[in-house]
Amino acid sequence: MLHIKCPWCGWRDESEFGYGGEAHIERPKDPDSVSDAEWADYLFFGSNRRGDFRERWVHSAGCRRWFNAVRDTTTYEFKAFYRMGEEPPGGEQ
């Protein structure tokens, strides 16, 4: 049971949240301009990083807001929580 800090509601148990996979994968603004391979990459392929990983969560049993987190996938330690639209801490990955 992870302990997660919703940027709006504070610390809550994992059971209040839904997981949204990798963060900062933007939907192509003009889907027609991307190739089939690029579209498939957007749809199906994540970076599956070992170590610090930026991911999305939604406080589905709370305020229902989406937000981002940085979590170490080897220890499950959360390094940061930040709102949608905010710059991720730690710069480029």
């Binding site: 049971m1 992870l2 302990h3 148990d13 839904g18 949204g20 933007e26 939907r27 192509p28 889907p31 027609d32 991307v34 089939d36 579209w39 498939a40 749809l43 999305r56 939604v58 589905s60 229902r64 807001r65 989406w66 080897t74 220890t75 499950y76 330690e77 949608m84 639209g85």
Partner: protein, 1010 residues
């Protein structure tokens, strides 16, 4: 005579409180403070069970959670509990216990003959033996194996007891109230930290309860008592005895099981819960879980009377029990010398201490020498004798490498063997969340390495077995944990009690005592006595190619039992290393996973029992009316929906025929309240709908409604429904009953993550509206009697529009929509008026023969029209083109999923397409839903695999058409009209069917547009 094996004095039992209990029908006595195991031993009973596979006689072996043998069935009737460890079952007045896994009795077990065939039952024999013939799997093998194997019997009646769950936060959770845990609790508690200290035993003290060590010149237990008294006085400290921390998860989440009234009787007295699960979120976790002594592995080491040395000491010191008359102590380290002294001091003859070390020199060894206990240095117990109890051992000299024995065989008579192969730190909880471990050569076992999160190990579980070191480590862990939550510094403030200095000589690692014969022919050397798993099994697994300890475990079933290998697994790893020719440090251990000891289902269920409380049940405002009118219900998502309304004596088919006939020829009424409803508002609402539906929505005027489909970004149909424009910036969206939550989540996700610039607000209104759907030629007549303020004529109120109005005087929205192909209306009113308006509709419809219909008739009517149900005819792998919905795909805008529709796979010409099917030989035969469709008429005889051409998604009998109808997905289906396909059934029948249009009835839609 009662309690013949009870010592005259001593122990932590209350001799003034005798308790009567029964074991296998025999009435016996023990004392308060006894466990069932100690009371049985006090009565001279050591044979308690039979082993899992070979049905060998097994005795009480350990004295706590580690005991693999002492499984008993306690109580009877609804409250009976199978597979309790007698070593952890506190004695109470009237306790009834019985042996498990033996028939007719534990002393004479018919299945013990399997032991004679044991050469035929090696590791993996299940996988090898019971493979063929296949027809025997479920008829012969499984019933026989189930009868022969397995332990206790589950109760057949509901559990009469109550279980509770409790959530708690704390600064510091300390697991284990031995010397280290008590010290940690004192250090953290005195500083004011909010502390929870839990221990699985009935009283605090840990090892001090069972040994004779001194602290500050007094028996250790006196120090423990003082510590507990001080902790009790601290306001922020919670003490939980009889409480096992069984799971340690991430971020300081620890699950505890408190046995509140287990020790009081079979059922809880005075309404108290039997057990309570604590779900603790701790800022800091201190693990002081101690260590478990591992036995030495030698031939025939499973006979009753062979025990770990520490268990022998525990029975003597803590329970005042004499576990034997004449003992042999077998060891590779110093600690068992204390057991020899405990035995000797209580007048139990120690025939010999057999020590695999040629030389040893320490305080304890000196004391044993002074007591003139014979010591065989450099010797080993190689085999034992005995029937239902050990009666002697064979001792031989060990060679210098420790891999062979030689010389004369010494026969020593004894009825007790106390063995010690060293100690294994209890690193289970440290490992649960991913804490790493390393091999420590000085103790020949694994110790914690990197802990996860704010977790600290202290004392024996950290590999520090000396009493003084345990206390210092406990104080230090308490200080660090308290400092971590802002209470003082990491420097120890408390003072450690004085301990005597103990010089020790190093242990000699010995995973397996060499046998005289080579392993396959030598007598069995048990590693896991519960599962009858031996060193020969590990060698066999290695010979057959297994390398990983995880695979060896699974192939041999080592540590599979209810004890999870607490005694045997490290020995197993050592023996695997020996067989592999590798270092045990490299072989490692298997993964430690929750639960540490078995947890009752009731503790997880808590009070959320039964269909009403286990899961949310959603009922519409008109639910009671449906019940009163004889409806049968089906579950759709969490909803209870009327399925059909059989009249007395009517079959299901007759009821459905009547409901659909009345709806097609008069008027039917359906409770549509369960449909998902989402209120969409905001200046960008039209733009938003345009992006989430495949068709264009911006031009739809206020007052109109439209059918739309939503795709996932992968282009597959996700959901569908009708949405109406209430105002310029306001829509009323409907979804499928089961898809409502998913659709809301989908919309919110896109609004928040992809298009935060859109000003749109979403509100779920499913529960706020009651929806009454009317269909049939007389629908307008009924609506006219109920509704006011609307011109209902076809010209003024055409199909796919809506109007504000009043229904039975209540504000309402009236939609002209249809899911049956008939003239249809849907009245939506505020949910609290639902029953009131439904009654008015029912009353108004009487003169027109109004009939309530349920989901089954709804399905038939819509299938006759070829309307899909998202989630029944779609499965997440079908796109709109597969359904011929090209007309709903706008070419003028982007929408979710559009780009995926031009992927090569979506454009494939041989995709399965939506079609209808009718049966040929018997037009009334209903093809089962999910049935496969092939071109081969004799699929059952044809070479396999037979190419698949499609499958049935919906299938019904249509009384309107007089024949069965089915909807199906068929490869290139739309170009194969009138082709014949075959559907082979599991029972050998083949159903012949012909492909048709999916619209079976009124293809021009004339009936709904009147």
């Amino acid at each position: 005579m009662s309690q013949t094996k009870r010592l005259q004095s001593g122990g932590r039992i209350d001799r003034s409180k005798p308790l009567t209990f029964t074991f296998n029908g025999q009435s016996l006595q023990g004392y308060e403070g006894d466990t069932l195991a100690s009371a049985l031993l006090a009565n001279g009973i050591s044979l308690v069970s039979r082993s899992f596979k070979l049905h060998r006689p097994r005795g009480i072996m350990g004295a706590g959670a580690e005991c693999p043998n002492s499984l008993v069935q306690v109580g009877r009737g609804a409250g009976t509990i199978p597979n309790l460890r007698a070593t952890q079952t506190e004695l109470y007045q009237g306790l009834e216990a019985n042996s498990v896994n033996c028939w007719p009795s534990v002393k004479f077990d018919v299945n013990a003959v399997t032991g004679l065939f044991s050469p035929l039952l090696p590791a993996g024999f299940y996988y090898k033996t019971f493979k063929w013939p296949k027809s025997w799997w479920d008829k012969v093998y499984e019933p026989r194996i189930r009868k022969a194997a397995g332990f206790g019997k589950a109760p057949t009646e509901p559990d009469p007891d109550r279980y509770d769950k409790k959530n708690r936060h704390c600064d510091v959770l300390i697991v284990g109230a031995g010397p280290a845990g008590l010290a940690a609790a004192l250090e953290a508690g005195r500083r004011g930290a909010r502390v929870i200290l839990c221990d699985e035993q009935n009283e605090f003290g840990g090892s001090l309860l069972a040994n004779r060590q001194y602290l500050d010149g007094k028996p250790g237990i006196e120090w423990a008592k003082t510590a507990v008294a001080e902790l009790e006085s601290l306001e922020e400290v919670t003490l939980l005895a009889r409480t096992t921390a069984f799971g340690h998860y991430h971020h300081g989440f620890v699950s505890l099981l408190e046995r509140v009234t287990d020790h009081m009787g079979l059922t809880s007295p005075d309404g108290r819960p039997r057990q309570r699960q604590w779900r603790v979120r701790a800022n800091q976790v201190v693990l002081a879980t101690g260590a478990i002594e591992r036995p030495l592995v030698f031939c025939n080491n499973d006979r009753p009377g062979i025990m770990p040395a520490s268990a022998v000491s525990t029975y003597i010191n803590r329970y005042g029990v004499r576990p034997g008359q004449r003992a042999v102590v077998f060891t590779n380290n110093d600690s068992a010398y204390q057991t020899a002294l405990d035995l000797n001091d209580h007048g139990i003859d120690v025939a010999a201490i057999v020590d695999v070390r040629p030389e040893s020199d320490s305080v304890l060894v000196d004391r044993a020498r002074k007591e003139e206990i014979p010591i065989y240095g450099g010797y080993a117990v190689v085999d034992t004798r005995g029937g239902q109890h050990v009666s002697g051992v064979k001792v031989m000299r060990l060679n210098g490498r420790g891999d062979g024995v030689y010389g004369e065989i010494h026969h020593l008579d004894c009825d007790l063997v106390a063995s010690s192969g060293g100690w294994n730190p209890v690193i289970h909880l440290h490992s649960h969340p991913g804490g790493t471990m390393r091999y420590d050569e000085s103790i020949a076992s694994f110790v914690p390495d990197q802990a996860v999160g704010n977790t600290y190990n202290a004392g024996a579980c950290n590999g520090n077995f000396a009493l003084g070191g345990c206390i210092t480590e406990g104080l230090s862990a308490g200080a660090t944990a308290a400092a971590g939550v802002g209470f003082g510094s990491e420097d120890i403030e408390g003072e450690a009690p004085a301990t005597g200095k103990q010089q020790e000589s190093p242990l000699r690692p010995m995973w397996r005592v060499p046998s005289r014969k080579a392993i396959p022919r030598a007598p069995k050397q048990f590693i896991d006595v519960q599962n009858d798993q031996t060193s020969a099994d590990v060698y066999l697994a290695v010979r057959e190619g297994y390398r990983s300890i995880e695979h060896i475990k699974r192939y041999t079933a080592m540590g599979f039992g209810t004890d999870q290998g607490k005694l045997g697994n490290i020995n197993g790893a050592g023996i695997a290393a020996e067989a592999l020719g590798e270092d045990i440090a490299k072989v490692g251990t298997t993964t430690f996973r929750p639960a540490y000891t078995p947890v009752t289902m009731g503790a997880f269920a808590g009070r959320e029992l039964g269909p009403e409380r286990f899961h949310a049940v959603r009922k519409t405002p008109m639910h009671k009316w449906h019940v009163d009118h004889g409806a049968l219900f089906e579950n759709v998502g969490d909803w209870k929906r009327p399925w059909y309304y059989p009249k007395p004596g009517e079959s299901m088919r007759e009821a459905l025929d009547r409901e659909s006939y009345q709806t097609r020829h008069a008027v039917g009424v359906l409770d549509a309240s369960t449909l998902g409803k989402i209120d969409v508002r905001g200046p960008d609402a039209a733009e938003f709908l345009n992006r989430v539906y495949t068709s264009g929505w911006k031009t739809m005027e206020v007052g109109k409604a439209r059918y739309g489909i939503m795709l996932s970004e992968d282009g597959m149909i996700m959901d569908d429904g009708v949405s109406a424009r209430i105002a310029e910036d306001h829509y009323h969206m409907t979804t499928t009953t089961g898809g409502a939550a998913r659709v809301l989540g989908h919309l919110e996700e896109y609004l928040q993550t992809e298009w935060p610039e859109l000003q749109v607000y979403l509100t779920s209104t499913t529960d706020q509206w009651a929806a009454i759907s009317l269909a049939g030629p007389h629908a307008r007549d009924v609506v006219a009697k109920v509704v006011s303020g609307v011109d209902l004529s076809g010209g003024a109120f055409p199909f796919m529009t809506w109007r504000d109005c009043e229904a039975a005087g209540v504000p309402a929205r009236l939609f002209r929509i249809s899911f049956s192909g008939e003239l249809g209306f849907e009245i939506n009113v505020q949910a609290n008026y639902g029953q009131y308006v439904w009654d008015a509709v029912w009353e108004a419809g009487q003169e027109y023969g109004i009939t309530p219909y349920g989901t089954e008739t709804m399905h038939i009517l819509r299938a006759e029209k070829g309307f899909i149900i998202a989630g029944q005819d779609t499965d997440g792998s079908v796109n709109p083109m597969d359904f011929g919905m090209h007309g709903l795909l706008s070419k003028k805008k982007d929408y979710i999923g559009r780009r995926s529709l031009s992927r090569p796979d979506a454009m494939r010409e041989d995709r399965e397409q939506f079609v209808g099917l009718v049966t040929l030989e018997d037009p009334k035969e209903i093809i089962p839903e999910g049935a496969q469709l092939v071109e081969e008429p004799n699929a059952n005889e044809a070479p396999k695999p037979v190419p698949l051409h499609g499958y049935v998604t919906s299938s019904y009998y249509s009384s309107t058409l007089g024949h069965s109808i089915a909807l199906a997905m068929v490869k290139r289906g739309r170009e194969r009209m009138d082709d014949v396909l075959y559907s082979p059934q599991a029972d050998g029948r083949v159903i012949q069917c012909r492909i048709t249009s999916p619209v079976f009835y009124d293809p021009k839609g004339e009936r709904q547009n009147v």
